[in-house]
């Protein structure tokens, strides 16, 4: 049956009544000493990756500007756009968890920059993501469900260019700048942070206004191609990898092996995505930093469904399910567990099958 994803709607109550709002999620048992080693933070990997990221952005943007108005500038804009509109999503994510860097101010700095690029208010999205981890793909509770059922293919396709997310982000920014929160945000953001959200929105709107003004004054697209528009023309990689996180899998389940997907990816996508392709592992153990997820993956493999071997293979598995979910919202994929794995835990532990 169709689902109601409204956080203030009837499904929120229903999830609570069904015992799905709980910390009682399945976890693969891991020796504490080993887990401590996996959770250990370091600055070096994220400093290296951040220098590479911003260095490449500067090089691509510089080359694109130098080649304007030639069509030869297009590939450089596209490369810059992917780093702005997609890599910043994973930086938002990892730094929001506080796991990318060992040093807290570094996480904070990159988080603020990434939030701006992705048009995500730092406080709203901190709490939205906390809820996503508390109630992953629980209908009526999780504010970050990318693929809703029944699946509307046009809406999904439009978001490959940010045509859903960007208007929503701008709308929220305008509402926040006027000193108000949206009803869904009021269900998960602590009120003490509202004033910070309002201030951030006003600063961001001023930056976008100045960018638009510069474009008009200089009669040039360059300011907009550098700030704002890359969130649209460069977000396709984020959307493409993001759909794989939970698409076609179960909902209202208390076991991340049922609702999340791990996919082996090429090194470029893993750099852009900061290893979030190890998504079951990340959800089960969110304190493990991105650079230790491959190690965690090896530790958990005996208890997890087999990962998808590549992005194309994951899509070959997921797309037919999404196509069917247009008409049959209850249909989903359940992947077999390896021999000896702990059985799936669909509901609260007392009633686990």
């Amino acid at each position: 049956m169709p689902r109601d994803y409204d956080l203030t709607g009837g499904y929120a109550r229903r999830a609570l009544d069904a015992g799905l709002v709980t910390e009682d999620w399945y976890k693969t048992p891991i020796d504490r000493k080993q887990m401590k080693a996996l959770m250990k933070r370091a600055d070096q990997p994220a400093i290296r990756d951040t220098l590479i990221l911003f260095g490449l952005m500067a090089v691509f943007a510089g080359a694109a500007i130098a080649l304007m108005p030639s069509w030869w500038s297009v590939p450089f804009w596209l490369a810059y756009g992917v780093l702005y509109g997609s890599a910043m999503d994973s930086r938002w994510h990892e730094c929001g968890h506080g796991t990318a860097f060992k040093t807290r101010w570094m996480n904070q700095l990159v988080y603020q920059v990434a939030c701006f690029c992705m048009m995500r208010d730092p406080w709203c999205w901190k709490y939205s993501h906390a809820r996503h981890h508390s109630d992953t793909i629980i209908v009526g509770r999780d504010p970050e469900i990318a693929i809703m059922r029944p699946v509307v293919t046009l809406k999904l396709a439009a978001n490959l260019m940010g045509l859903v997310d960007v208007p929503d982000g701008l709308r929220r920014m305008v509402v926040h700048a006027s000193g108000r929160m949206l009803p869904d945000e009021e269900t998960y953001v602590e009120a003490v942070f509202y004033p910070k959200t309002y201030r951030t929105a006003r600063i961001w709107l001023a930056i976008y206004a100045l960018t638009g003004l510069a474009a008009l004054l200089f009669q040039s697209w360059i300011p907009l191609l550098l700030i704002g528009l890359p969130r649209m023309y460069g977000c396709w990689h984020m959307v493409m990898t993001g759909w794989l996180q939970h698409g076609g899998l179960d909902d209202n389940a208390l076991d991340h092996r049922l609702n999340s997907r791990t996919v082996y990816m090429n090194p470029v996508s893993r750099f852009i995505y900061w290893n979030m392709n190890y998504h079951v592992e990340h959800h089960m153990f969110p304190l493990v930093p991105y650079y230790r997820l491959p190690e965690l993956h090896a530790v958990c493999a005996h208890d997890f469904p087999a990962p998808s071997r590549s992005i194309p293979q994951a899509y070959a598995e997921m797309l037919p399910v999404l196509w069917r979910q247009r008409r049959d919202p209850d249909f989903h994929l359940r992947r077999p567990l390896p021999d000896g794995a702990h059985p799936y835990q669909k509901g609260p532990r007392a009633s686990a099958a």
Binding site: M35, K36, R41, K126, A130, S134, V192, L287
Partner: protein
Amino acid sequence: MAEWIDACAADDVEEEDVIRFDHGDRTFVIVRDHQDNYYCTDGLCTHEDVHLENGLVVEATIECPKHSSIFDCATGEVETPPACENLRTYPTKVENGRVLVAL
């Protein structure tokens, strides 16, 4: 007047680590920092009641394993949201290799 309760052996907790301690119907964590100081705090994170026994201890702070709220183990103060409410802490001492907590 608070009563000193024998919570565990000092060696039960590794350096920069945490263990769970249940007493009556209440749950706590015992934390040992990098300088062999011991702390006892409430066991559940003030954000969403996630147990801190699987959290990450760095020096004298503990990080919630679910949403990464960070608390100062000595004062219970929130250092990093999403938690907004401080953690309750309890006087702790080590005597004859045992960790004692005033509850």
